[in-house]
Symmetry: C2
């Protein structure tokens, strides 16, 4: 199908280019076609564009400094500061995004159709966002004084007008577009697979697979589903059960095979569907685009495999099958309080306030932050959501980049759907699902909230208040010492930036924190709904957690990129291991003593660059600069220190993943930085697991790690065997993983000595003789305390602006979730 | 020397017995003679009893609910409740302690001398405290309705009026003492060594070793110390250097050998001495009590060993020795702020308040606490400080006992003092050094503070405000989930009890927390001063951190006892391990799939009862009750889940420890509970490391762990290789270890669903359609905020009451630290 929205697309594109200024700052993001209904409900919500409330004011304000609850003694607005240079990672301006989309639709050879009008055999634009500039070019600019890197749009087109549909990564630019110089070219250099940025699209039949296949099968066995559950899945509005299955598909021998199963639908808005499996599974070979060539290859019920529908039906109706119960929604699956009668519980619990207002600076426009002696920039992208760039302490860069790369949820089970499920979540994207946060719950109510924006289907969606920045004082000090004469302590006040992405059933909370001693931490917590299994899959894969339900065991593995630059880009990786030794000393009278020592080694090349944390927490991993010794001759560096949940994937050579998730195989992986290896994974790795766009293992080709620009790829996660405590939701408290980067001989002394938020009390004979507060201000004041909950009526969700046809004056509210 | 204070001791004891009622509740604690000056300064402070301010009011109030800073909207006083039964672990009453001491002094056969008057050849009383009753007897009482267990005093006598001095653990009772029935008997049953509770005392010469040995050697080499450092250590008041050394002593072949070294003294009250080693060491054989038989066996300087003082002196003065610099105190070793000029830093940071006051109940008298559905009792003892007993959730016991057993700091180094140092800190005791806490720093200012008391030298010392109880709300929720239609979250409000013990240079913060999902955690953090090494010991044992200073590598290993009772005392230990498998399924077409599964096993006997956490966090350790399945057939239990720092000692068969620290050898150790195995270590294990009073390894004798009363002994700690960031103090943020006990199929669903401190916001088209707050009270009010620092003039330190001669009307303030 040809482009229909504009009769003269080339002319329109030119007009748009001429029209737009470089006004609004937005990020432009794609969202690929979701592949399973449990993760695709948002496509059905597309019809909801009812209330196109005019939201210009909301969008132009862009930052929603909260007006919630506890009024602080002074304002809690972040202090306005000016970034030292423009944020080169923050995404396309509205003008840039609009110009690129218009230009694309102007290229007849691309044969594009607007998403809203597109069918499965139309080509569409599914991503227009900033191509993150190469580190080499950025450093030349911010350190070397060179001009800012050229800006290019990263475009992904979905070529479906073909028997062999594919996605293609493309670059369009340079920006701003100029009709004389504008170029489009394959974006291949960041990929390990060299096929001009192309990878096949296994989801091109996303509508047909339901209308012509799954629902027809659902109808074919409606007699059985009615008998079992009084329900059917035929694609009708009154369906009360659902069909979806594995991700990624089986991709052996050139075939594309899927296993699907029936699920009960929840009876209300609670997202309980992943708790409601029904235990009937079927297998389909859906290779190619012609449904007439697709093949039903069998049924599974109660661990018995039937090769045909007829065989299954015969067995079912002749009574040789034991009929098993359904999982049905109940209060056990809803998140509202149950039996809430604990003493004092309805009284307001302790809460953190910021009596002196914000003690940090933010350049809202450039997403640049300063807290105490730290500074950093914030980026946001469709694939991974929030990323932190150019983290400095006292003006000296520590990390160039710190952020999520990919999140895997690798299930296992006795049934083919659980066994076959290994979500690679950047396929869905962390950006599109980084929803509005709840002040007082997701972050302290006094936090500064920023918006974030992504591109989807010729629109930009803005998540209001989706990134929060706040200081917090822990319930323990960072330092203390006492004696019979004095006691001293220093407050543990830290600064955090946070976002939460709900990728379907699971809510991932990402927090990067900065501590007074110079430590930086990266943490992830998981809450939300588990994906569960029908109980017949057996005890080898989980606990039985309801009458017909098993917690489905799974590994969460989340890869984080930490591109350290310790006093320049020439860095090395040193390990320091505590080992038991039996050793003779000059003073030990010739006798060997059983004691211990440290053993220092360097990771010389990438051949030794993949390893696990040592048993007994015995090994320090240090990022050092061999050319930068401190005054005592020790290497200045940072110590990479697991907090909890530093782990790797249990499964070896996963049948689900093949080459698509090699990044999950070790705890710690170190490579030499290259502009052509910017990310550990590609969102379409699931589309061709045997030859994915980015095969992380190929990064390891024996290169030197000796005083090179070094990147650490660190895995965090949880081996999760859900138990009844995961119902209705997993709790963030124990589903937590984190890593800290702690100065190691980097500074002369502990940097927390640089705060005055400390006290020393000298005392003698029951009397304090000195209370030293080091110049802290005595800011007595009054706080009007009002519970934050009563201001949550301001919650709004996402704001959408159409980019093609460009319609900046008619933003509307719409929030699209996967579930 | 004979008892001199009472002319007719027997009569006096009877009189005291008659006089006293069972009035004041105090714990009675001992403190053994400290062995090295760095840890014994408090003995010298004994002369400070100057201001015997009458403190009856202070002591009778006993609990100091804070009047600090931020006035809450309502009172923050803990709600007064009444414990279901008396606290049987809380220690002796004043009357009991006084009666026992008086009775002991009445026994001529014991030949006791009051500590203040005692010399090295006098017998003294060094402990009078409650013998913690046996679990068997307590359960019969609190569960079975039997009478409360008999109360006995645990007494330790220090028999020094002999060539072979020894300590003896004794029982005196039953209490209240009755002259007809009073009995004294060896306390042997909790010890693995069966020598009537006796263990030799290697510290009996604690004064002579200085006056007749160390200071004389100091004087003998004063020419050299003057030349090197312009100082001498001769025992004079104007000494500016100090001498002390290893702990425990070398105890091979029946000899007692010590290595000592010279240290610089700080020039002010900051505790920097452990940062000021001077690098000159000497070895002494000090076997026996006769100084004339002691032998100087050599000197070490700059890694060269000299067999005699003459040899060393000759080398020194003939110029063949390189003279090395001293470590001298400077700002780098003081904890006050340095270069404190960070932006906004002097403004008050965020702070937690309790706007609705305390939401928990405390029975102050019985040290019993209720928070939400949890309840527990608090004990406090000389050896280990705070212990938690009878932890219940909704009236069902989860743990009978949870508390510290021992803390080891095992150093290693190229010099004999660092190499020879392995502190076993209960020798010094955690009770005596659990000092007054700082509101707003050590705990939130709205916390409830309790006192604690220990016995020393015929006095009881009361630490004011030394245990804090508080609720705290984290900066993240315990649960959240969002979709395009609604968002829900629940506050992560938890309850903690905390104390801090400063054992010499190091401050250990112990925190036990209770979470809304039923999880309990035990955490320890370390701050304070490191013990460091002179830099010539080389890079195998640490980093160089100042011109003449090396961080001395050491392992902190802290053992915690967790006596679980899951639905009764018949429990089992199940492990559940995630393992990779290649497995064929009925539906996999005969092909094996690479996936994973769980493997469940039981630890059948104590022979398999000592093990480490599995690599890759792959193994769950579950405490379950095989006879208590939930409605789905799964075993109800708790999951023991490391947070961070779950580890064991690096050193194998430590030359320092021999048999004295076997508890540190594995991460997890499981035994069958016995009344005769109540503690993993004995405070005098250091006195005979080859045959210590409690050799933990002997607990493992192959007994069944199948549905028995089971105890877990869990090690937490840090492998610490100090770097410049440890100067002046180690920071609590990264020096952190913890373990959590999380429900595993114990409840039907997540218990955090039982709180109303949650919110659900439904929204559509940019408008919140529902904000559900579940009955939380809207308690708007005004908070007068005043920084807490300006009320810290109330800091007092410890209160002392003399017990023999009993002098209850003249309490005085005195705080004794080790350093």
């Amino acid at each position: 199908m040809r482009l229909s929205a504009l009769s003269s697309p080339g002319a329109a594109a030119t007009a748009v280019l001429a029209l737009l200024s470089s006004a609004d700052l937005v990020l432009a993001r794609p969202s690929p076609e979701p592949k399973v209904p449990a993760r695709m409900k948002w496509t059905n919500q597309r019809g909801k564009k009812v209330a196109r409330t005019v939201l210009r004011n909301v969008l132009e304000g862009r930052t929603f400094t909260n007006s919630f609850a506890i009024a602080a003694c002074s304002t809690s607005q972040a202090n306005a500061i000016s970034a030292p240079y423009d944020n080169v990672w923050v995404g396309l301006s509205d003008a840039e995004a609009v110009s690129v989309v218009a230009w694309l639709f102007g290229q007849e050879s691309l044969n594009l159709t607007e998403t809203e009008d597109a069918g499965e055999w139309d080509n569409t634009v599914i991503l227009v966002e900033l191509q993150i500039p190469n580190k080499t070019d950025v450093l030349a600019h911010i350190d070397g004084g060179a001009a800012a890197p050229e800006r290019w749009a990263h475009v992904i087109l979905d070529y479906r007008a073909t028997e062999d549909p594919y996605y293609q990564d493309l670059l369009v630019g340079p920006l701003p577009l100029n009709s004389e110089t504008v170029t489009i070219k394959p974006l291949e250099y960041p990929l390990t697979r060299k096929t001009e940025g192309k990878v096949r699209n296994l989801e091109a039949n996303s509508e047909t697979i339901y209308s012509e296949w799954l629902y027809k099968i659902g109808a074919e066995v409606a007699d059985i589903t009615q008998d079992l559950w009084g329900a059917q899945a035929t694609g009708q509005d009154n369906d009360t059960i659902d069909i979806w299955g594995i991700d990624p598909y089986w991709q052996d021998d050139g075939r594309v095979v899927r296993w699907d199963m029936f699920w009960n639908l929840p009876q209300d808005y609670f997202d309980t569907e992943t708790l409601l499996p029904l235990g009937l599974y079927f297998k389909s070979d859906v290779t190619g685009r012609d449904p007439s060539q697709w093949e039903l290859q069998g049924w599974l019920y109660n661990n018995i495999f039937y090769e045909t529908t007829e065989e299954f039906r015969t067995a079912y109706w002749n009574g040789s099958i034991e009929k098993l119960g359904a999982n049905v929604e109940g209060d056990w699956g809803r998140t509202d309080p149950i039996n809430a009668n604990m003493p004092y519980d309805s009284s307001y619990p302790p809460v953190s306030i910021a009596p002196a207002g914000s003690r940090y600076g933010v350049d809202i426009e450039r997403k640049y932050v300063e807290w105490m002696d730290f500074s950093f920039y914030v980026g946001f992208s469709r694939d991974v959501g929030m990323t932190i760039y150019d983290i400095k302490y006292k003006g000296e860069r520590l990390l160039y980049e710190l952020g999520l790369q990919e999140a895997m949820a690798h299930y296992a089970g006795g049934d083919p759907v659980q066994s076959g499920t290994t979500y690679l979540d950047t396929y869905y994207g962390f950006g599109p699902y980084a929803f509005e946060l709840i002040p007082g719950y997701d972050c302290p109510e006094y936090a500064t909230f920023l918006n974030s924006t992504f591109y989807v289907d010729e629109t930009t969606h803005t998540h209001l208040n989706s990134i929060c920045l706040f200081e917090f004082t822990s319930d323990y000090p960072i330092q203390r010492h006492s004696s019979g004469e004095y006691v001293t302590a220093t407050k543990e006040t830290h600064f955090s930036i946070r976002s939460v992405s709900t990728v379907g059933n699971y809510d991932y909370m990402f927090t990067y924190s900065f501590k007074l001693d110079g430590t930086i931490s990266a943490e992830v917590r998981a809450s939300g709904y588990i994906q569960s299994a029908y109980f017949t899959t057996g005890s080898d894969f989980g606990f039985k957690i309801q009458e017909n339900l098993s917690g489905s065991m799974h590994d969460h593995v989340l890869n984080f990129k930490a591109d350290f630059d310790i006093l320049g880009t020439a860095n090395s990786i040193q390990t320091m291991t505590n080992v038991p030794v039996s050793r003779v000393f000059p003073w030990s009278g010739g006798k060997a003593r059983n004691t211990m020592q440290v053993v220092r080694e360097f990771i010389d090349t990438e051949d030794q660059g993949r390893f696990n944390w040592a048993p007994n927490v015995a090994q320090q991993v240090l990022v050092v600069n061999k050319d930068e010794k401190n005054q005592w001759g020790e290497l200045r560096g940072y110590h990479v220190l697991p907090m909890s949940g530093a782990m790797h994937l249990t499964v070896q050579n996963s049948s689900n993943l093949a080459e698509a998730g090699r990044w999950a195989e070790f705890d710690v992986q170190v490579t030499r930085q290259h502009d052509w290896e910017p990310r550990a994974a590609h969102p379409y790795n699931s589309q061709d697991v045997n030859d994915p766009p980015i095969n992380f293992a190929r990064f390891f080709d024996g290169e030197s790690l000796d005083q090179e620009d070094i990147v650490l790829w660190l895995n965090l996660g949880m081996h999760h065997v859900p138990h009844t405590g995961d119902l209705p939701n997993t709790v963030f408290t124990t589903a937590h993983a984190g890593v800290q980067f702690m100065p190691s001989n980097y500074f002369d002394i502990d940097q927390s000595r640089r705060t005055v938020n400390a006290v020393r009390v000298n005392y003698e004979n029951g009397t304090a003789t000195d209370v030293e507060t080091f110049g802290q201000k005595d800011q007595s004041c009054s706080v009007d305390f009002t519970p934050v909950e009563y201001d949550l009526w301001g919650y709004k969700g996402d704001v959408v602006v159409r980019k093609f046809p460009y319609d900046p004056n008619n933003p509307y509210y719409e929030t699209d979730a996967i579930v």
